[in-house]
Symmetry: D2
Subunit: 402 residues, 4 copies
C-alpha cells in the first residue's frame, strides 16, 4: 500500500498547477465569462494556452493527441485544473466533452473517431450529450425515455425533446439517446451521432441556470424528423443504456476531481481572508467559530481526495467500481458543497459578491449533488448492493431488492 504519486505524475501535477496559476487565473476577470458560460472565443484562447503548454486533453489516448492518462492520472491533473473554473475549459477536459471523448474512444468506429473525436481532442470542436428530457421524460430514471428513433430504410428518423443539454449552443455535434423502433418493435435505446447543422436539430432556447461555468450553457433542444444515417449509430443499435454506463461511471468521477479542485480554491480564498481579516479582537481564523469551519474543510477535502484516488485505482485495475463510484459521487458532491458553503460563510458579505470566485463556485457546485445522478439515486444504488450482499442465497429476496 502506497499513497505516493508516481514521480512523473507528480511532475505533471506541478506543471498543471503552475499553468493554472500563471496562465488561467488571469482570465477569471475576463468579461467573456457570461451567465451562459465562457464564450467560445474565450475557450479558444484558453485552449491555445494549454496546447502551447502541452497540457491539452490529458485523458485522451495518445493516438488521438492526448496525454493518455490513467484514471489516477486524471484524478491528479483534473483536480489541479479545477482550481480555476476555467482550468478544465483550457485543458479541454470539461464536461460534457471529456465524457464524450471517453465514450467515443471506447465505442466509436475508426471512421467516427476520425470525424468526431480527432477534432474535439485537438480542442477545435465541442460536442453535447442529448440524454436528459424534460418532465415527463427521462431524468434520473432513464427508463422514462420518450425521444424516438424510427428505422426508415438505411436511416433513423428522430423526434423528441431534450433539455439541460450542456454545451449545445456552439457544439459541432451531438450524441443523442433515443428509444429505437425497428419495424414497429422497440429494440431498446440507441446512441446516435449527428452534426448540429443537420436539418431537424433545433435549439429551442438557452436555459437560465444557477451555474455558469459550462461553455455554451445548458439548452433545450428539439428533434423534428431529424434524419440520421445508420452509419452514424454509435456502437450498436439497442445498446444505448450499456454505453451510457461506459460514459457515466468515469464521468461521475471526473466531476468529483474537477470540483474538488474548485472546493480547494474556495477554501484557500476563505483561509487567506480569515487569516488577515480582524474582528472582535483577533483574526477571523483565531476565532474557533471560523477556525473549526476551516478545519472541517481540511478534513472534507482530504477524505474526498482519498476516496477519489481509491476509486480511480479500482478502475485502473479493471474493476467496474459501479457501487464504489456511487459512494464517491455522494461523498464528494456533498463534502464539496459543504466546503464551498463554509468558505462562503467565512467570507461573510464578501462571499456574496463576485469579488471572489467563491460566489461562482458556490453556484456551480450546487448542481453537482444533482448532475450525473442525484445523491438519492446513488444512495439507493448502494442500498441495493447491500440488499444483494445480505441475501446471496435467496432468489426471491434478490428479486425483491432489484
Amino acid at each position: 500500500m502506497d499513497f505516493a504519486l508516481p514521480q512523473e505524475l507528480d511532475a505533471l501535477k506541478a506543471r498543471t498547477r503552475a499553468f493554472v496559476r500563471e496562465e488561467v487565473l488571469p482570465f477569471e476577470a475576463d468579461p467573456r465569462r457570461t451567465a451562459h458560460g465562457p464564450t467560445d472565443e474565450l475557450r479558444r484562447d484558453l485552449v491555445a494556452k494549454a496546447r502551447a503548454a502541452g497540457l491539452l486533453s490529458a485523458h485522451v489516448p495518445r493516438e488521438w493527441g492526448g496525454l493518455g492518462l490513467s484514471h489516477l492520472g486524471k484524478a491528479v491533473v483534473f483536480e489541479e485544473a479545477g482550481y480555476s473554473m476555467l482550468g478544465p475549459v483550457a485543458l479541454n477536459i470539461a464536461a460534457p466533452d471529456e465524457g464524450n471523448m471517453h465514450l467515443l474512444a471506447e465505442v466509436a468506429s475508426a471512421e467516427q473517431k476520425a470525424r468526431f473525436l480527432a477534432p474535439m481532442a485537438a480542442g477545435e470542436t465541442r460536442s453535447c450529450f442529448c440524454m436528459t428530457e424534460p418532465h415527463p421524460g427521462a431524468g434520473a430514471d432513464p427508463s422514462l425515455l420518450r425521444t424516438t428513433a424510427v428505422k426508415d430504410g438505411d436511416a433513423f428518423v428522430i423526434n423528441g425533446l431534450k433539455w439541460l443539454i450542456t454545451g449545445a449552443e456552439g457544439a459541432a455535434f451531438a450524441i443523442i439517446m433515443a428509444r429505437t423502433l425497428v419495424d414497429g418493435v422497440d429494440v431498446g435505446a440507441t446512441m446516435f451521432l449527428t452534426d448540429l447543422s443537420a436539418a431537424g436539430f433545433r435549439i429551442v432556447r438557452a436555459l437560465d441556470t444557477l451555474d455558469s461555468s459550462f461553455v455554451g450553457g445548458h439548452a433545450e433542444v428539439a428533434f423534428d424528423d431529424l434524419r440520421i444515417p445508420a452509419a452514424d449509430v454509435l456502437g450498436e443499435v439497442g445498446k444505448g443504456f450499456r454505453y451510457a454506463q461506459v460514459r457515466l461511471v468515469p464521468a461521475r468521477l471526473t466531476h468529483c476531481m474537477r470540483w474538488l479542485g474548485a472546493a480547494r480554491r474556495a477554501h484557500d480564498i476563505a483561509t487567506a481572508y480569515a487569516a488577515e481579516r480582524q474582528a472582535f479582537g483577533g483574526t477571523l481564523l483565531s476565532h474557533e467559530g471560523v477556525g473549526f469551519m476551516l478545519a472541517d474543510n481540511e478534513i472534507d477535502l482530504h477524505t474526498t481526495r482519498l476516496a477519489i484516488h481509491h476509486a480511480c485505482w479500482l478502475l485502473d485495475r479493471g474493476e467496474k467500481a459501479n457501487v464504489e463510484s456511487s459512494m464517491v459521487k455522494v461523498q464528494a458532491s456533498e463534502a464539496i458543497f459543504r466546503v464551498v458553503d463554509r468558505s462562503l460563510q467565512v467570507l461573510g458579505g464578501l462571499g456574496m459578491t463576485r469579488d471572489t470566485e467563491v460566489e461562482r463556485i458556490f453556484r456551480d457546485v450546487r448542481g453537482f449533488r444533482i448532475y450525473d445522478g442525484p445523491s438519492e439515486v446513488h444512495r439507493w444504488n448502494i442500498a441495493r448492493k447491500l440488499a444483494r450482499a445480505a441475501t446471496p442465497a435467496e432468489p426471491a429476496a434478490a428479486g425483491r431488492a432489484a
Copy 2:
C-alpha cells in the same frame, strides 16, 4: 396561551395571500427583474398594485400612511408577502427601506419624518443604509468603523468607503453611519441623513452578487468631503450604535418573516412537482428519499414560524428580546436555507434552472445566514448570555465574558 391569530389579522393574512397570488405572481416572469434586482419601474408598477389593494407599508404607523401593524401583525403579513420575492417590493416592506422607515419613525425629528419618511412610506422613494464597509472596515464587528464625520461649523464633513449598500442605486436618500470627531475628539458613531444627490456622495460601482431580489442591488459608495448640515443628524450625535440596535433587532426578524414565505414557496413548488413526477415506479413523493426531505421541510417551516411569532410577541410586550432575536435569526436563517436547498434537490435538474422560482430563492436565502449578523456572531451573542447568567455573582467572570 393561544396560538390563534386575531380575526382581523387572519383576514388581512388572507387578503395579502390572495393579493400575492393574483397580482404579484404574474410579475415573476417580467423581464425587468435583473441581476441587480427589479428595476425601479417594475417596483412602481408593483407598488401601484399594493396601493390599490390597500396593502402598502403595513409596518408603518397609520399617521404616515401605513397599516400600523404590531410585530406579530408584520410576521403574518410579511410571510405572505415573501411568498413571492416580489411581494415585499410591492408592499413596500422590503429591506432596507422597511428597517429605515422603522428607524425614522422611532428616532427622526418631525421635520425629518416629513421630508424622508412620508414619501418613502407612500412608496414614492427609496433609501439606503450605509453602515457596512469593505475590509478592513466595519463588517460583522461594527467597532471597526472607519468612515469619519468631522465637525466643521454647523455641519459635518464625511469621508469614507462603504459597500454592500443595498438599494443605493436609485435611492433618494441615505442613512450614513460614521465615527464622529468634534474638535478632534472621537465622540462615537453618529447617523446622518443625506440626499443621494448631495455633492460628495458617489456610487463607485454596482456589486455583482449571488442574490438578485433587492431593488437597486448592492453598491459600493464613497463619501468625498460629503457635507451634511447638523440638522440632518438622525437623533443625537454619538448615539449611532444605540440606534443601530433599534433598527437591527426588528430588521433581523422581518428578514425571517419574508424569507419564511420564500421558503414556503420553494417547498410548495417542490411538493407539487414531487407529487406528479414519476421515477422508478412511483411519484417522487412516494419515495422515502424524497418524502422525508419534504417532511423535514414541513417541520422546519413550522418551528421557524412558531419561533418568529414568539419573538414578535415578546417585542409587542415591550421586551428587548435581544438574545431571543439572535436565536430566531440563527434558527430561521439555517432552517430556511435547508428548506430551500432540499426543495432544489427534489426538483433535480429543473431546480437548477430559472424555470421555477426556486433557483432565485436559493441564491437569495444564502445571504440570510450572513446578512444582519452571520450565524457565528449570533451564536456568540447567545453564548455570552449563558456566561452572564451562569455566573451572576462573580464580577471577574462576568467581565471576562462581556
Copy 3:
C-alpha cells in the same frame, strides 16, 4: 395570539419546579436506582412525596384524584417533572402508566375504571401495555401483530409473545393487544385487561437495555392460554387499533414534554460546568467551540418547547393533530438527543461518568428516537399527508406542477 401561561398554570409550574429541586433531586443518589429502573420501593417513597405536595397524577381527571390538567397544562408540568429522571416517577406521570391512565379514562367502563384506574391514579399500582412483539411480530408496523385471542364461550384465550414491555415487572395489570378470532374469523385487534397474577401470564425475562429510568425496566412476556373474561375487554372487540391511536397521539407528546425537561437538565449541568471549568486560557464557555454548542442547545430547547405547546393547544381545541404530533415527535426527539449529546461532549470525560446525571439522560433519550414510532415512521406519515394534500383532484395539480 398569546404565549403567556395562564397565571394558575404558572403557579403550578413554579410549585412543580420547586418540588423537583427540593424533594426529588436528592433521590438521584439513591442506590435503589438499578439498571432495570428505580425499584418499586423507591417509587413509593417518591410518590409519597408528590402526594404530600398535592402534585400526584396531574393528567388524570379530578374525579379520579388527579389535577385534571389540559394538554398544555401537562406540557408545562411534565417538563418540570422531567428535569429529574425521577420526577415523572414521583408525580405518577411516567410511561407507560401515564398513557394507560389516559386510555382507561377515555375508553374503560365504569367498573374497569374503579378496578384498574382508581388505584393507579392514586399511585398505588402500576401497569404495562403489551403491544410490541419480537421479530417477526408487530413493531413499528402494527399490522404484523401475531398474538391471538380466540373467542371461547364468554372468554378469550390468548397466546403469544411480547417484548419491550415497559414496567411489566411489578405491574398489577396489563393491557394486551391481540388479533381476535371469533368463530375462526379475524375480527381485528382488541385490547384486553388482565391482572398479572392471572394464570398464563408469564414474564420470560428482564431485558438489559440502554436506558434505565423506567420503573420495572423492560421485559419479555408470554401468554400461554391466558384466559380473559369478555367483561375485561377494553372498549369494544376489534377496535384495538383505534384505541391505540387514542393512546399514542398524546403519549407521544408526553414523552416529548418529560424528555424536554431532561434535556434542559443536561444543558444546565453542562453550562454550569463550562462556565467554571478553565482550559486553554479561559472558561470552556468562553471558547466558541463550546459556547456555540450551548447556544445551539438553547435554540433547540426553545423551539422544541414552542412546538410542543402548539400541538397541545391543537389537542385542547379538540383537533386530532395526528400529523402535527408526528412533526413534534420527530423534531423533539432529535433536538433533545442533540442537546444531550452536546451536553455530554461539553463535559468531556466527566460526561462519560455517572458523576453527573447526563450519562443516564444520554442513555435514556437515545430511545426516544425509536419509542412510540421511530423518526422514519413519522417522517413517512408526514410525507403521506403531503401526498394526499398535493393531489386532491389530480388534473389541477398536474397543471400546477407542469
Copy 4:
C-alpha cells in the same frame, strides 16, 4: 499509488478475522463482561486463545514477543480485532496497554523494558496511564497538571489525584505524569513508573461510566506521598509532555482502528436485520428511509478506513503526522459514532437491548469523541496549522495564532 495490501498482511488480516469470528465472538455472551469491563479472568482466557493462535501483541517489536507490525499493519489487524469489543482484549492490543507498550518500547531503559514491558507484551500483566485529573486539574488542557513530584534525595515524592484512569483496577504498574519540582524549581512534567502495590498508590473508587469494554474499567486514584526511585523515571526528567506526544499520536490512531471494526460490526448486524425484517410491505432495507442510512454507513466506513490507512502510511514513512492524526481522529470518531447511531436506529427497539452488541458498542464509541482529545481540541489544532501556513512571513501573526 497502490491501495492493495501486501500479501502477507492480507493473510494476517484473514487469519485475524477468522480468529475473531471463531474464537472471540462466542465469549460475547460470557457473564464475566461487567459494567466495569471484562474481568481479568475473562481477559486471561481470551489472551490464551490469541497466544495459541499466534496473534498476541501484534504491535510489539518482535524482540519483546510481538508481531512487530508497522502502523499500516496495525490498522488492518486492529480493525479486525475491533469487530468484537473483546477482540482487542484477546490480542493484547487494547487501550491503555497498547499505548503504554508502544511508549515503553520507545522510551524505557533496557531494565525497565525487561521489568515492565516484557510481561505485559506476553499478556501476563496490565498497566494504566495516570495523566488525566479531575477538575480543576489536567484534562484536555494538559497545562493544568496539578499532581506534583518533589525531588527528595534519589527519589521523588508524588502527591495528587487522577481520574478516568483506565484499567487501574487490577493493573500491575502505572505510568504517572507529574509536575516536577527539583529544589523548589518546576522543571516540567515527568513520567514515572511504579508498581501499583507501592505504598502511597491508592484506588479511591471505580467510576461508573457509559462505556464498559475496558478491562478494569476507569478509576479515580490518589497518590499520598508515593515514593518513586529516580531509576523509575521513564526517560528523562522534565520531558513528560514530549513523551506524551510519542504516546498520543499513534494511540489516537489505534483507537480509530479498533473502533472502526466495532462500527463495521454494528453496521453488519443492522444490515442483516434490515435485510430480513419486514415492515410496511417490504424488508426494512427495501425502504429508502433505512437503505439510505445503511448507504451512509458504507460511505462513512469506507472513507474512515482510507483516512486511517493514509495516516499510518505517513507514520510508517517517518513523518510526525501531528495534524493528519488530528484530522483522522475527528473524522473517524464522528463517522464511527454516526455509523453506530444509525445502526441502532435501524434495529429499532431491538437496538435498545443488549440482545445485540450494538447497544454496548453505542455506549463505548460515544467516548471516542472525547478520549485522546475531544473533537474540539483537534479542530483547534487543525485551525492553528492553517493559521501558521497562511502567514508564513509574519512573526506577529504567527504568534497571535499560536
